[in-house]
């Protein structure tokens, strides 16, 4: 695989828990919004208005600046038919594009396989967080899972001298040999992939310096790790990270603004950092959540709902509104949720085909309507 510094890069930020669409991109001009949100509605004078119809939550000022530059696309009413209100099931559907049955192949795992079919770079896909999201899991596709870039690697707790020796031994005992059986072979290649990935990634913090001071939040630290890996030019094409806490059944007035101010500041810092390193123009950042929330609030928060919003940010992005804000009218709702106007598999297809130049159909399982944000 030939990688150039300008190969398109995708950063995915998963907003886990089900972000409340209606309090994020607020349909303030619709009087029904006030009716539905008597307890947690955002006062109109605080809303950051985008136009005569909708505005952003007051905690999202940094994203408004990006919006004004035409680099923030808002995808309205995104989801899939017969939305599942289970976090896990719904997230699974987003991860595997299998709304009918249990999927085992992550959509980004498949994309990484297509980007690097010969496994030439074990750091083609990098997850920053704990574990590995199913979206990136595909048998035989190595993905680096980085909890903390500064301490990432095998035997990370060891003193440097011991560690060098242990890694040397590890590489030796995990090397391929004849007649070991499929599972041992699989463990062997996985172990070597893990080691090589760590080896590649460890240079990132060494090469990195930046004048940008990120905000103090967990998501800012994760995006900073991603920026370090990206500007080090290690050939990573797909980054993934997540922020939990969007499951605002209660105390939404307290929690939701904190989450969005963390996200907005971190995203702005991230792109500022990339620009400082002249490494922003081949990056888009996509944010999604597993579902929106109920139209009507429950007193102090909102319960699991249907259609939500996704966002795409980057120099190459055609900013503004894409798809349509679902109607708030009771007769247009689906069981108390906003209707889904755009299938997320079409959204993925747009990214895969227009940005990553990968054939989307086999990955998302068919042809879906695409949008013009790229």
């Amino acid at each position: 695989m030939t990688t150039t510094k300008n190969d398109p890069v995708l950063v995915v930020l998963q907003l886990a828990g089900g972000n409340d669409y209606m309090n994020t991109v607020i349909p303030y001009a619709d009087p029904l919004y006030r009716d539905y949100r008597p307890n947690i509605g955002v006062p109109e004078d605080q809303i950051i208005k985008l136009d005569a119809q909708v505005g952003l939550h007051p905690s999202m000022a940094p994203l408004k600046r990006i919006y004004d530059q035409g680099k923030l696309a808002i995808i309205h009413g995104i989801g899939y038919p017969n939305s599942s209100r289970s976090h896990f099931r719904s997230m699974d559907i987003w991860h595997t594009c299998e709304p009918e049955k249990q999927g085992t192949e992550g959509w980004l795992g498949a994309a990484i396989r297509d980007l690097d079919p010969n496994k030439e770079n074990v750091a083609t896909g990098v997850y920053v967080g704990q574990g590995l999201p199913r979206a990136m899991v595909l048998r035989g596709v190595p993905v680096a899972s980085v909890a903390d870039l500064a301490t990432y690697g095998l035997f990370s707790a060891e003193a440097e001298q011991d560690r060098t020796q242990m890694l040397e031994t590890f590489a030796h005992v995990y090397s391929p040999a004849i007649g070991r059986g499929a599972v041992m072979d699989y463990l062997g290649s996985t172990g070597l992939d893990a080691m090589m990935g760590a080896d590649i990634l460890k240079v990132a913090p060494q090469r990195y310096s930046s004048a940008v001071e990120y905000a103090d939040s967990s998501i800012a630290r994760k995006l900073r790790d991603i920026a370090q890996i990206h500007v080090a030019g290690l050939g990573t094409r797909v980054f993934y990270t997540d922020l939990y806490g969007f499951d605002t059944h209660s105390s939404e007035l307290r929690d939701h603004p904190m989450l969005w101010s963390d996200v907005s500041e971190a995203v702005e810092d991230f792109f500022e950092d990339l620009r400082e390193h002249n490494a922003a123009d081949n990056v888009i950042l996509m944010m999604f959540t597993e579902f929106g929330r109920r139209v009507v609030d429950n007193g102090s928060g909102t319960d699991h709902g249907g259609g939500g919003a996704a966002f795409v940010i980057g120099d190459a992005v055609k900013g503004g509104h894409h798809s349509e804000y679902p109607s708030l009218k009771p007769e247009d709702q689906q069981l108390g949720d906003l209707a889904v106007n755009h299938d997320f598999r079409g959204f993925y297809s747009t990214i895969l085909e227009k940005w990553m130049s990968v054939d989307a159909r086999p990955i998302v399982g068919g042809s879906f309507e695409q949008l013009a944000f790229l």
Partner: protein, 463 residues
């Protein structure tokens, strides 16, 4: 021979429990294999874990709500401290089948009650267990059984009962699913205001006759005005049910199989073993204790050493049992409950209604690194009581040549056999420092390094 006995008992304890210390292995070996199996099958003779020991220092664990990832701390406390090895291993087995998760149930304590049920009845009668699961509030909510009403059937529970909990796809029709669901209408949960403020409502099973569809049903060839009990009684008579549970037992206790959804198209690895286990189920009237006795005493079990990739629960509980030092749940105990999740098995939050994909699918580059780092950090710590014991056992062997040092460490950590090339690499490596001399100041450091090298091997990832 003595060594062979230790190796066989170690195999038994890795599968029927979460591994054992050398001291425990020696005691079991002195008792003998079959007597050890009987002890495992009769847990009442051993003292139970006192969960109040945990709640005393972590009162939030009494009813943990949805506290991120830590709601399984109580279960981990049991896994680490129980003297009833098999009783606790059965809870993991049943959780893998009756996979129920906090992602939807949203009450860790209701899930913990379900684990209690597995602890109490996991070695009992399968029919009784299935019946208790059908009435378990967490399960009812998990599979929308509380939405299954006489006038609006919700098939979720009816379907999974047949597909995931008893028989597997291909052994029933859609009409069977429908009528099974109808038979369970009226089985629901009642919600109770909690006595402690800001708690989630407690749930209990409730049968509402007025919401039960009392009409005639046809299920697996039987016709009648069935209620849920009759459906379960018909299911447990089916040979397909016995084979399904047998295959789960084989996959969990004997050797890794293909994933459950592939069972319909992939024959068992060892069909004779499945026949034996299925017959044990049917002959004993579904008594799990009798089936487990058959399993552990069979040659196909004894010969199946290191044929399973350790699950994250086995990695974490096994490591902490071996190191010791977690009998008291100190301030850093709760975060340990998240470790299995970092390795791909978030207990009480399974990947799906089908539980987890097991075997080699536990391993990817991220999870492999996580488990190796977790084990190295702890098992290489010679200040922990269990590792001190290993050092002491090496020390009484006197100064050790590189070969003897490597072999003794492999023995004390398993006994484990590694490939010749791997063993030779360890010998070459440690030869650079020469014979292990106990008066030398770096002796313990060398033990620590050797232990870490061994637990990082591929062979050590198997149980």
């Amino acid at each position: 021979m003595a060594h062979e006995n230790i190796a066989l008992i170690a195999h038994l304890m890795r599968r029927a429990g979460f591994g054992a210390t050398r001291e425990e292995l020696e005691a079991y070996a002195a008792k003998g294999y079959e007597a050890t199996v009987e002890e495992l099958l009769n847990p009442e003779a051993q003292e139970a874990v006192d969960r109040l020991d945990l709640f005393r220092y972590h009162p939030g664990m009494f009813k943990p709500g949805t506290q991120a990832g830590e709601g399984s701390a109580e279960w981990l406390f049991y896994m680490i401290n129980t003297k009833r090895h098999l009783e606790e291993k059965m809870t993991v087995f049943w959780h893998q089948i009756f996979a129920t998760g906090v992602s939807k149930v949203d009450h860790y304590h209701e899930l913990n009650y379900m684990i209690d049920l597995f602890r109490e009845q996991g070695l009992g009668n399968y029919r009784d267990l299935l019946m208790a699961v059908a009435k378990n509030p967490a399960m009812i909510y998990w599979l929308d059984q509380n939405e299954n009403r006489a006038r609006s059937i919700n098939e979720n529970w009816g379907r999974e009962l047949l597909e995931l909990f008893s028989m597997g796809v291909g052994n029933y029709t859609e009409d069977d699913v429908r009528d099974a669901a109808r038979a369970f209408t009226g089985w629901t949960i009642a919600s109770h205001i909690p006595r402690i403020p800001y708690q989630r409502n407690d749930w209990t099973f409730e049968y509402r006759p007025g919401d039960h569809d009392d009409g005639e049903k046809t299920f697996l060839g039987h016709t009648g005005q069935f209620n849920g009990e009759e459906i379960i009684d018909i299911i447990v008579q089916q040979p397909a049910c016995h084979r399904f549970i047998a295959r789960h037992l084989y996959s969990f206790f004997v050797a890794d199989e293909v994933q459950v959804p592939a069972w319909q198209i992939t024959p068992p690895k060892d069909s004779q073993a499945i026949d034996i286990l299925a017959a044990a189920l049917s002959d004993s009237g579904l008594e799990m204790k009798a089936v487990m006795r058959t399993l552990f005493n069979s040659d196909f079990f004894k010969d199946a050493r290191f044929l399973k990739v350790r699950s994250p629960a086995e990695v974490v509980a096994g490591t902490l049992r071996l190191t010791g030092g977690q009998e008291f749940a100190g301030p850093f105990f709760l975060p340990l409950a998240r470790e299995t999740g970092f390795m791909g098995q978030d207990l009480l939050n399974p990947a799906s209604v089908e539980g987890w994909h097991t075997g080699e699918e536990w391993v990817n580059s991220g999870s492999l690194m996580t488990r190796i780092n977790f084990m190295c950090e702890r098992l290489g710590d010679t200040s922990l009581p269990g590792i001190r014991d290993i050092v002491d056992r090496l020390r009484v062997q006197g100064d050790l040549s590189p070969e003897a040092f490597v072999d003794s460490c492999l023995d004390l950590l398993g006994p484990l056999t590694v490939e010749d090339g791997t063993r030779q690499k360890f010998i070459d490596q440690t030869s650079l420092a020469g014979t292990l001399l106990w008066h030398s100041p770096d002796a313990e450091q060398r033990v620590s390094s050797m232990v870490k090298s061994i637990v990082a091997t591929r062979e050590f990832q198997f149980a």
